[in-house]
Subunit: 225 residues, 2 copies
């Protein structure tokens, strides 16, 4: 029997990853992490909607508020402004220090307790914003750390099913899997209406356009019309 933990932020990539995990496993458990990000409230709302939609076997919401308190990222620190999209290739100010290592370590601890053998994370390497902890080479190292640092009698495997897809292909795959994109959140800036101009909104909008679909969530400019 395969039991998977899905790290579900409420973003588009993790939602499609959840859709994949639901097909590949006998049981799925959803894990959401608050880390003091500015859009925490909206992401949590999406997570709750996705729980109602997918009905996972178990759910857990974990607070890593310290990760926001230490600062160092535009996603958590009010003193750092979130820039509009400029198509940069280096890691931007929205990089949250070593976030994915913390997310995976959290998921692995829980996996050991509930006997889950797979952990899904919706990281995207290509077409991403250049975060070092979204690259396959990082996940391979974390896999080695899991293999050597856990005591459960079976292997716990990290799965990153969308890591080499581009955003447009992620939208297409999500549409095929009929994932509820209306319950996903990508905007870095706002808790109510997506801004449409931050890095994350810009990549999302471009992805829907390239995939030939309409993004079902509302955007700020639609309100202004």
């Amino acid at each position: 029997m395969d039991r998977a933990i899905v790290l579900l932020s409420g973003g588009m990539d993790s939602l499609v990853t959840a859709g994949i995990a639901c097909r590949e496993n006998d049981e799925v458990c959803f894990l959401h992490v608050n880390y003091g990000q500015k859009t925490q409230e909206k992401e949590l709302e999406c997570f709750r909607q996705l729980v109602l939609h997918y009905r996972p076997t178990q759910t857990r919401i974990v607070d890593l508020n310290w990760l926001g308190e230490i600062g160092g990222s535009a996603l958590t620190d009010d003193k750092i402004t979130i820039e509009d999209y400029q198509g940069r290739k280096d890691a931007p100010l929205t990089y949250v220090p070593f976030r994915n290592a913390n997310l995976l370590a959290t998921a692995v601890s829980w996996a050991e307790v509930i006997r889950a053998n797979r952990i899904y994370i919706g990281a995207v390497e290509e077409d991403s914003s250049g975060y070092p902890d979204c690259r396959e080479v990082f996940f391979q190292s974390m896999q080695a750390a899991i293999n050597t640092g856990t005591q459960c009698p079976f292997p716990i495997e990290i799965r990153t099913p969308v890591i080499h897809l581009n955003k447009a292909d992620i939208v297409k795959l999500g549409m095929k899997l009929q994932v509820p994109f209306e319950y996903s959140w990508s905007c870095y800036k706002d808790n109510q209406i997506a801004c449409g101009v931050c890095d994350s909104c810009a990549l999302r909008l471009k992805a829907f356009e390239q995939a030939g679909f309409t993004d079902p969530i509302p955007y700020a400019w639609e309100k202004q019309r």
Copy 2:
């Protein structure tokens, strides 16, 4: 300039590790993590005393209460009884699932923000209680994850200076470095007076005896005399 973060639980091994870090670096910063362990209160008290003693440049106390809430360890779960010392070689019930990965991930995130280039952790492989995440092979994997998953411009190095020492040698080294053993806590069971019979107390007492020193902390049986 070398700036180190020391993961300081308040236990004997991390205290001696702190003593070493203070000699090897220009600046040290102390990091303490609460994770819902039964002796959290006493460990925090030791940490505060050690801050007064060593006067680190920065300190941080992080709450990972979820790690206790998920259960799975006798250190955090009241439903699992802490056994008396029996000299077992397999990982005991006091193993906290993937704890050291969570501690390291926390320290690395902070290191990226405060520009620390070393992280000290007082793990002991030999003569330990058989925790998988205390072995050198695990730390090597985590080092690879740090090298691939961080974006800071310099390497962040994990240092485990006591990993291949036995407990008696750790006591001897601590005495040489004049670390304040009176502000350290090893007991798994109690918040006030060390029980003297749990795995951790038994190993500590044996270590002091073999090293030829008297442990300065009081034990439960001394009270009964």
